[in-house]
């Protein structure tokens, strides 16, 4: 169809008004503007009705919600109540907490617990999801079927039910603490009181060692620069990183010895009459007591004989000085029995009454306690050296387990349920990501002689990641938010702690605002991090 410019087009005039209007309305540009106006109106309306509702409720709850310290009322004082004493205990805390702490600290304990579950959860879910996603595509019939059943079972039952099942059906049916299961003889104990596992304990001298480590890291930088300059000058290549790392290890090792040698803060309180002047005297004393020629001979002694001869030691609960001393005693094969007390005074009392012949603690505590004894001059404090970091292994002691770290059953159940559930979601995403890689990519990798492992690691996973990450971010965010289900089994996360606070203080609005803000912050932090990673690995297209 051709049209000369001069020819007037008769059509528009002939068109009735409504048709012209329709023409305007269906113009994509007009539609776009109309749509945006409509959306803004909707948002304004929604915000208005919610906020007026909120204001009504605040009014109804009365001014008492907003009491300031001076007795006046103001919205600015909405959170002043958080400074008052909370009055309740929390079963699982990462930092010190007592029921006399203010609500703020209680809330902080809850936030830390939420973060603990969320961070461990995301890490473990990533591992499990990747393994299961790859396993579903395995050529091995059994492996792929196990992965399939795992995914189907977990995805098709509600998360809350799984949490209940794992908590009541699995963990709480585990044996009591005194009969705790020890898989494969490892220093791991499973009981209905949770999981006891080995942990690292920092001692008073670790600061010195860490200073050495920092020095070592600085040294790597300096070495690299110096060698780089020399390389440029002489043209002789040198292995900068290797030189730096070897020097780093030497410095770290030196630091270990130095910090162990100079550590002088831990001590052992003994009576002068005991004739112990240094730690090395203990083995001679033990030989005298038992009449044995050599400490190795003690292996032949009966339990009762050893009980009678063993050193009786008083210590503080969970103290690194105790872990350190008992480790050294075990090394020397010296039998000992230990009593633990929550507070130094208790331990000192028992030492004074002769229930234990020595008291291990930091020297400052010992000096203070010694001055309260009847005749301080008849007691000695001897030094106990300690390594900057000591392993603390859980071990049976009577009906109890001591040493190491411990996860409470609520934490284990929540973490396990979240990881199993979201692991199955992630496994499907991983599987889809791998399947999205074309056959040609795999063939090219094989034709070049790459092994199957190299193919997976260098070709498939890096490309699959780009498909996996965006929905994977969704999984991580859901997991972080679903930590709030912990309240169902009494895990004191941010929501559970806030819930108790709400019941006690009646400040429902303030707390909900606070909780939602925190969840938003956590989610934002997660997604900023993951989006940054996603942006970094995006494909470059023409």
């Amino acid at each position: 169809m051709t049209q000369t410019p001069a020819a007037p087009s008769p059509e528009p005039q002939a068109m009735p008004l409504w048709r012209r209007l329709l023409g305007y309305i269906f113009d994509v540009r007009v539609l776009g503007v109309l749509g945006q106006i409509g959306f803004i109106l909707l948002v304004v309306f929604a915000v208005r009705s919610i906020s007026s509702n909120f204001a009504d409720n605040a009014q109804r709850l009365g001014e008492s919600q907003f009491i300031c310290r001076d007795g006046s009322f103001s919205y600015r004082c909405a959170y002043d109540f958080m400074e008052s004493e909370s009055g309740f205990d929390i079963s699982d805390t990462m930092i010190d907490h007592t029921n006399t702490d203010p609500y703020w600290r209680t809330f902080y304990v809850g936030v830390l617990n939420t973060l603990k579950v969320a961070i461990f959860g995301v890490i473990l879910t990533t591992l499990l999801g990747t393994v299961m996603g790859v396993a579903r595509l395995s050529d091995n019939w059994l492996i792929s079927k196990i992965a399939l059943w795992y995914v189907e079972l977990m995805r098709n039952t509600p998360l809350l039910i799984q949490i209940f099942f794992i908590y009541f059906g699995v963990i709480l049916t585990a044996p009591e603490l005194n009969e705790a299961l020890q898989p494969l003889g490892l220093p791991l104990f499973i009981s209905r009181r949770g999981l006891n596992f080995p942990s690292l304990q920092f001692t008073s001298s670790s600061a010195i060692w860490i200073a050495f480590l920092v020095l070592g890291i600085i040294q790597i930088q300096v070495t690299s620069v110096i060698l780089g300059r020399r390389e440029e000058r002489t043209g002789q290549p040198s292995n900068r990183l290797q030189t730096g790392l070897i020097a780093f290890m030497l410095i770290a090792g030196l630091g270990w010895f130095v910090s162990s040698a100079v550590s002088d803060s831990q001590g052992l309180l003994v009576t002068k009459a005991s004739r112990i002047r240094e730690l090395g005297d203990m083995d001679k004393l033990m030989l005298q007591r038992t009449g044995a020629n050599h400490l190795d001979d003690l292996a032949a002694f009966s339990e009762e004989e050893l009980d009678a001869a063993a050193f009786q030691i008083c210590a503080l609960d969970d103290s690194s000085s105790e872990t350190n001393l008992t480790r050294q005693l075990r090394k020397m094969d010296i039998p000992y029995r230990i009593r633990r007390y929550e507070v130094p005074d208790k331990a000192a009392d028992n030492y004074a009454s002769g229930k234990c012949e020595m008291f291990v603690a930091s020297k400052t505590i010992l000096a203070a306690e010694r001055s309260t004894l009847e005749s301080p001059s008849s007691h000695l404090i001897i030094s106990v050296k300690e390594a900057p970091i000591v392993w603390s292994l859980p071990a049976r002691e009577g009906l109890n387990l001591v040493g190491g770290g411990r996860m409470r059953p609520e934490f284990v159940a929540l973490l396990l349920a979240l990881v199993l559930f979201y692991g199955s979601n992630l496994a499907e995403i991983v599987r889809a990501g791998i399947l999205a890689i074309s056959k040609g990519q795999n063939e090219a990798a094989r034709a070049l002689g790459l092994t199957e492992g190299q193919r997976l690691q260098l070709i498939v996973l890096p490309q699959a990641l780009r498909v996996i990450i965006p929905p994977g971010i969704g999984v991580a965010l859901s997991l972080a938010k679903d930590t709030s289900l912990g309240i169902a089994i009494g895990f004191p996360d941010m929501y559970a702690v806030s819930y108790t606070t709400m019941n006690q203080s009646g400040r429902v609005l303030q707390l909900f605002v606070l909780i939602m803000l925190m969840y938003m912050l956590i989610s934002l932090a997660f997604s900023v991090l993951l989006n940054w990673y996603n942006e970094k690995i995006k494909l470059v297209e023409r």
């Binding site: 070049l448 092994t451 260098l458 297209e541 023409r542």
Partner: protein, 255 residues
Amino acid sequence: MEFEGPAQSFVDEIIIAENVHKWFGEFEALRGVSLRVKPGEVIVILGPSGSGKSTFIRCLNRLEEHQEGRIIMDGIELSHDIRNIQEVRREVGMVFQQFNLFPHLTVLDNITLAPINVRKWTRDHAEEIAMKWLTRVGIPEQAGKYPGQLSGGQQQRVAIARTLSMQPKILLFDEPTSALDPEMIKEVLDVMRDLAKSGYTILAVTHEMGFAREVADRIIFMDAGKIVEVNTPEEFYNNPKEERTKLFLNQILQH
């Protein structure tokens, strides 16, 4: 432009295929294919769609597994032994119709990936060799780009450089120019022509008659999973022996 040749082979026949059968489930795609190739020979494979050309050359580096018969590449028999398979794949390079470059790696990393991970060369050495091959296929300036930023012809030349950087003795081409626009076909064929002249053993599935006439020592015509005719290019195009070949040539020459 003259290419450096491949490493010398110490066998008389670098490819031996004896009575090779291949089934896809019930369907028999190769029905007794036998072929012997001397080092340095250039062979072009022709045949109608679905005749088993791709299947045959893919059996030669175990991208497909044959069920009957024997395949011996440069003295190594292809069996279920993974070590033999890996060794053959190191000696045999393959160029695909769809290039199959790794989109997440730069051109240079595409080329150095296998030499570093399979041949265990240092990165410096691998990059030096890679740049040499990129220069030879005429696109050294593209080393830092990603495959998605190149034209089809450039991508295929990168794929060829990637294959050659592993220093193979045998090159398999499966319709390397079929996915290219006409003006790009020439740049790829030029590279292939030079490779053929510098001593590589080549098996190429291609319908490019000019290439076949100029560099092929033999042309193999396949149909329905069998080799129907083996002939010199001259004889094949001017004076084919078999009826089936004549029919096929009539069809493709009509265009």
